[in-house]
Symmetry: C2
């Protein structure tokens, strides 16, 4: 059986198919956001995402600035970290963490009767001043972020918040939109760790050119 | 803002919503397969998956047998391993690996001009006799598996093959169906690492009861 085995050609051809099938819908998306949308669809094969993205106008600029300024990137799951291009991240000098298994998080969650995702968000905002926050899984992480911001205890550089799910996910993302910070989200129930990773990767691939060896 | 923070309650409520919205479609799915379908939707919030699953009638039995017999589980991406419940896997005594970064794989891919996913599949089938194969990302891994099987150089215990994508993914999964082995797949372009992990987790959660402490 004949099949393409060159990863670059596979990716290029995939992106052409996606652009072609998106057609007019792609034209309606601002040029600089198209790579993000295309990569989400590349990862999910789900064209509905083109109609579900929602973001603040300063998100992309702010995310790039934060990455180039070596702000730390904190993800809610190890799966997000697994999916992102760590070679580019490391070349940029960006540190990345997931605190979900941190002993302090486990302890805090138990003591306060909250989810580990909430405890991890609390710890993140104690440890870092303007982190890049990535939430691919836990609506409760976004709810906790809102609480911390209301108390003046959190000021993330930007938030990529795309938890997936049936209980609280959509609500947590609507809340994110009202937090007055640079954000990117997916309306409704859809999202997830691979979606979060794909959005980050789209931006990281673009920044590859900015890396000075 | 009030929100549910108990993970068990969130999950239970989510599964109720999924079952309710699937309605009659769920009834048409064999009872033992329902937890798998429900967990895919839980992970993707995409109900289309209910109509895209395809599997051999012996898949579930064979996967459970393989896990209980401590057959090794080999995934094509670290993201799949990141997403599966390793506590249950370890309690069952099942070893798990991803060879994509294995120096021997990197070398083999370079030498033969093939993708690392293909090289990893080749190495997997050299190293293990009847592994549980999980392919969440790379169609070329399934193409390579077919070649190896045709040459009598591979005899996996079962294959969970759900690569996502626009070039080769659908074809690789159609090929998987014709390999005459216990398989589970997703028709068409959809799938991915989170989908693969969700299917495995559904089975692992069921096996939790079988673990002798």
């Amino acid at each position: 059986m004949n099949y393409i085995t060159n990863p670059e050609i596979i990716e290029q051809r995939s992106m052409e198919i996606i652009a072609s099938e998106l057609g007019d819908r792609l034209v309606q998306i601002p040029v600089e956001m198209r790579p993000l949308i295309k990569r989400i669809i590349h990862t999910t094969a789900d064209f509905e995402y083109a109609d579900l993205v929602s973001y603040s106008t300063d998100f992309l600029t702010k995310l790039k600035e934060s990455l180039l300024a070596k702000s730390p990137l904190i993800a809610d799951t190890t799966m997000v970290l697994s999916g992102i291009n760590k070679r580019v991240l490391e070349a940029l000098g960006v540190e990345y963490y997931c605190y979900i298994k941190d002993p302090e998080v486990v302890k805090l969650a138990k003591e306060e009767g909250i989810t580990r995702s909430m405890a991890a968000m609390q710890l993140t905002c104690q440890r870092w001043e303007h982190p890049i926050l990535v939430v691919g899984n836990a609506p409760t992480a976004l709810f906790k972020l809102a609480e911390l911001m209301n108390r003046g205890e959190a000021s993330p550089g930007c938030v990529l918040g795309v938890p997936v799910g049936f209980v609280g996910a959509a609500e947590s993302k609507e809340l994110l939109k009202r937090l007055n910070l640079p954000f990117f989200t997916i309306d409704g129930r859809k999202g997830g760790s691979t979606v979060a990773a794909s959005i980050l990767n789209a931006v990281l691939y673009e920044l590859r050119g900015n890396i000075t060896p």
